[in-house]
Symmetry: C2
Subunit: 305 residues, 2 copies
């Protein structure tokens, strides 16, 4: 069975009826599953997690666009989170019985269909990107909806699909394929925001840290502590334990300890079992051959071996 994950980010996090209507659109599609969804009022943004095969996800994403475009007008939208479109970002992620190439092909097929049917310009990103300068979401989204018309008119910013100027109310969308992303936060036993910011700077790629870490320092004012908030974009190449240990040692430099960490949303089991292997110093371990659930999943239930 082919399982692809898809995580559409929609620019609406305050009107519950709109969010529910978009969720309902997914539930109506046979073979598509809505694993999770949550709305953030201060970000004014919702994140939906879908799973299914390519055909079911394509149908579900098109249905979400239809509802979102009818209800959202970015000309009157505000929120803390940067955004370019009513449906802002749509990544496809290979999970089981599928490859990154399958997800790239699906992203392009969905992008083409949305551009044609709804007249929304589409930028491809990450593994589906057509252009190294347009691989990172942040680069594509810089300037946001308000700066989009000017950006699209400038050299190098013609979209991959659809019209050469923004959709009046829905802006543009960023669609692509990527590895599973882990939203991971580490809370520090201090209220000194400069410590969180210095550590974030030390570990993130953009300022010299790990290749697959995005990070920022935040205050959690109600708790009187600070947080290093991260996205880990490739847990195989930049594993959680290495990030955790580096944050721990950097914090010691300022006399600060780790209070706790948290995983926001879903995480692949392999990202956690790799941590067990590391800390327990397990030699010669094969997750495929030795983790019971993997063994049960792999082989078909036949008697031929």
């Amino acid at each position: 069975m082919q399982i692809i994950e898809c995580i559409p980010n929609v620019s609406e996090g305050r009107r519950g009826d709109v969010v529910e209507s978009i969720a309902a659109a997914v539930r109506e599609v046979p073979g598509a599953r809505l694993l999770d969804y949550s709305a953030d009022a201060s970000h004014n943004r919702s994140v939906f997690t879908l799973a299914g095969d390519a055909a079911a996800l394509k149908t579900a994403v098109l249905a979400m666009y239809e509802r979102a475009l009818a209800a959202i007008d970015l000309r009157s939208h505000s929120g803390e989170h940067p955004r370019l479109g009513a449906v802002d970002v749509v990544p496809f992620v290979p999970i089981e019985g599928t490859t990154m190439n399958d997800c790239v092909a699906l992203a392009k097929e969905v992008a083409q269909e949305i551009a044609t049917r709804f007249g929304v310009p589409i930028y491809l990103y990450e593994e589906a990107s057509s252009n190294p300068a347009r691989r990172n979401l942040e680069d594509i989204r810089r300037g946001e909806f308000e700066g989009l018309a000017a950006k699209m008119a400038s050299a190098g910013w013609a979209p991959d699909y659809g019209p050469a100027s923004p959709h009046p109310s829905a802006g543009a969308s960023v669609i692509g394929a990527r590895m599973p992303l882990i939203a991971y936060n580490i809370n520090l036993n201090t209220s000194r925001i400069e410590v969180a910011k210095k550590i974030a700077s030390a570990i993130r790629q953009s300022s010299g840290g790990f290749r697959f870490v995005k990070a920022a320092g935040f205050e959690l004012k109600d708790r009187g502590i600070v947080q290093v908030s991260m996205n880990l974009t490739n847990y195989e190449k930049t594993p959680i334990f290495r990030v955790f240990e580096t944050v721990k040692h950097e914090a010691e430099r300022y006399g600060v300890s780790i209070l706790e960490s948290e995983i926001v949303g879903l995480v692949p089991a392999a990202a956690l079992t790799a941590c067990a292997e590391y800390y327990l110093q397990i030699a010669g371990f094969s997750a495929d051959a030795q983790i019971l659930e993997n063994k049960l999943r792999q082989a078909p239930w036949t008697n031929a071996e």
Copy 2:
């Protein structure tokens, strides 16, 4: 789907044709899967790992008995591993869509059937045990096949099913239900066997250590190091990380460090993800709700939520 694991231990590890014939008996049963099997010549013992639903496992275990009893005579059997029967031990372990109670019921049903069909006396053990003094495998097996006739004639040792005296060539069997067992070894950076033995003594239940740890110290002569070899019999109540950290600290007491650890055979994913939670200090984590694979497994692929 109901998934029960069953791990029959058979007293034959030298004659490849006999081991293969028993494995073949499992493969002929629809719905039963042979996940793994291995034969140990010095122990003169084979361990088979089966998975399936209750009905398929019952059929498979009966078929294994038929082959094993025809080929094995304990009167001419020797090996390093203690044993009471031709089919020595048969544990049933709940994995998915099933409970410990289901496994206890299955153990009793299989025990009754084997006693009736083959005339082999059966002792129930662990969660299926009828008697607190006969809960532990070691207590039931003490005296082995050679001491079995005398033991069965003594007070308190009438079997749970079958005749009051041993089967002439097949002895008796121990059948029951238990939690998944993890075979876990920690190798120490030293050749001093007394260090491994002292640590094993410190951590095992029988000498005052953790409730769900069995342990012994061994020399790995070819590598010039020693090993603390363990069975962890309930990884939820005595987790791997607590055992690992205790061994590490006890070793420090002797100026010794951990070289590596190893998991022998299969391990449930939850035993490893719990280690990640511990070492990464993850707060508020729900394995059911946040590990992607669990989420995908749980809910059916319908649109009703």
